[in-house]
C-alpha cells in the first residue's frame, strides 16, 4: 500500500523530492529551450 505519510520526517522527505522535481524540470526546460533556439537559428541562418 502506498505510504505517503512521512510523519515527523515530512519536513525533510518532501523538500528533497520537491527539489529533485524542480531540478529535473529545470534541466528539461533549459536543455529543450537551448535546443529549440539553436535549431531555429541554424535553420534561419542556413537559408
Amino acid at each position: 500500500m502506498l505510504d505517503l505519510d512521512a510523519g515527523k520526517y515530512a519536513a525533510f522527505v518532501w523538500p528533497a523530492y520537491g527539489l529533485t522535481a524542480l531540478v529535473f524540470l529545470g534541466m528539461i526546460v533549459f536543455t529543450l529551450r537551448a535546443s529549440a533556439r539553436w535549431r531555429r537559428k541554424a535553420q534561419k541562418d542556413g537559408e
Partner: protein
C-alpha cells in the same frame, strides 16, 4: 587511431541516431521512475531511519550520476583533446551543466537526509568535501568555457581542466574507505553484495536506471543543441565574410 562508432564520429549520423534515441530514453526514464517511486513508497519504513530512508531513492542515484556524468565529461574531453573531434567536444560541453545539476541534487538531498540522521546539515568529512569539490570543478568548467570566445581555445582549456579534475573521482569513490567518515561506506556495489534487503534495493536500482535514462535523453538533446549552435555560428561567420 581509436575507431569510434559511426554515429559518434559523424555529426549527420549522430543527429539521425539521437532524433529517435533521445525521446526513447526519455520515455524509459519516466516508466522506470514511476515504477521506482511506486516501490519506494510502498516499501516499509526503515527500523532505524524511519521515513527518511525514502530520501535514499533520490540521493543515491543523484550521487551515482554526479560521478558517471563526470566520467562521460572526462572521456569526451580526452577524445576532443587528442583527436580534435568537434562532436566529442560538444558532448563534453553538454554534459557539464547536467553533471553540475546532479551533484547539486546529491549535496542538498544529502543535507536533508543528514540533518535528521546525523544531527547536522553538513560535516567536513572526506566524502562530502570531495563531492563539493566535484561540484566546484563542474562550475569551473562551465565558467571557463563561457569566458573564452575562441571555440578551439575554450575546447582545449576545458578539456585539460576536465582531465585534471578527474583525479578527484577516485577520491570521491574511495573516501569512505581511505578515511574515517561520518558518511557510510558503499552499500550496493561491494564485494559482499548489497547491504540492504530487496524491498529497498529494487526501488533504488530502478531510480538509478531512471536517472541514467533521463541523463541519456537530456545529454543527447544537449549535444544536438551544441551541433546546431556551431552550425548557426558557422553560417553567421560565412554571411559576415560575404
Amino acid at each position: 587511431m581509436i575507431p569510434a562508432p559511426a554515429f559518434l564520429s559523424n555529426p549527420e549520423r549522430f543527429m539521425a541516431f539521437s532524433r529517435w534515441a533521445a525521446p526513447m530514453f526519455g520515455v524509459t526514464a519516466v516508466v522506470l521512475a514511476l515504477a521506482g517511486l511506486w516501490l519506494g513508497f510502498t516499501a516499509p519504513e526503515d527500523y532505524q531511519q524511519g521515513d527518511t530512508v525514502r530520501i535514499m531513492f533520490i540521493h543515491v542515484p543523484a550521487a551515482w550520476l554526479s560521478m558517471f556524468v563526470y566520467v562521460c565529461l572526462a572521456v569526451a574531453s580526452f577524445l576532443a583533446l587528442v583527436f580534435r573531434h568537434a562532436l566529442a567536444d560538444a558532448a563534453a560541453q553538454a554534459a557539464a551543466p547536467l553533471g553540475a545539476a546532479f551533484t547539486f541534487l546529491a549535496l542538498v538531498t544529502g543535507a536533508l537526509w543528514g540533518r535528521p540522521m546525523w544531527g547536522a546539515w553538513w560535516v567536513w568529512d572526506a566524502r562530502l568535501t570531495s563531492v563539493l569539490v566535484l561540484f566546484l570543478v563542474y562550475l569551473a568548467y562551465i565558467a571557463l568555457r563561457a569566458s573564452l570566445d575562441d571555440e578551439a581555445k575554450a575546447a582545449r582549456a576545458g578539456a585539460i581542466l576536465a582531465l585534471v579534475g578527474a583525479v578527484n573521482l577516485p577520491v570521491v569513490k574511495f573516501s569512505v574507505d581511505w578515511w574515517n567518515t561520518l558518511h557510510q561506506g558503499a552499500s550496493v556495489f561491494r564485494k559482499q553484495g548489497p547491504a540492504m534487503t530487496n524491498e529497498f534495493l529494487w526501488p533504488l536500482l530502478l531510480m538509478g536506471l531512471a536517472f541514467m535514462a533521463a541523463f541519456g535523453s537530456l545529454w543527447l538533446v544537449g549535444i544536438r543543441a551544441q551541433v546546431w549552435r556551431r552550425r548557426a555560428e558557422a553560417a553567421a561567420l560565412r554571411a559576415a565574410r560575404g
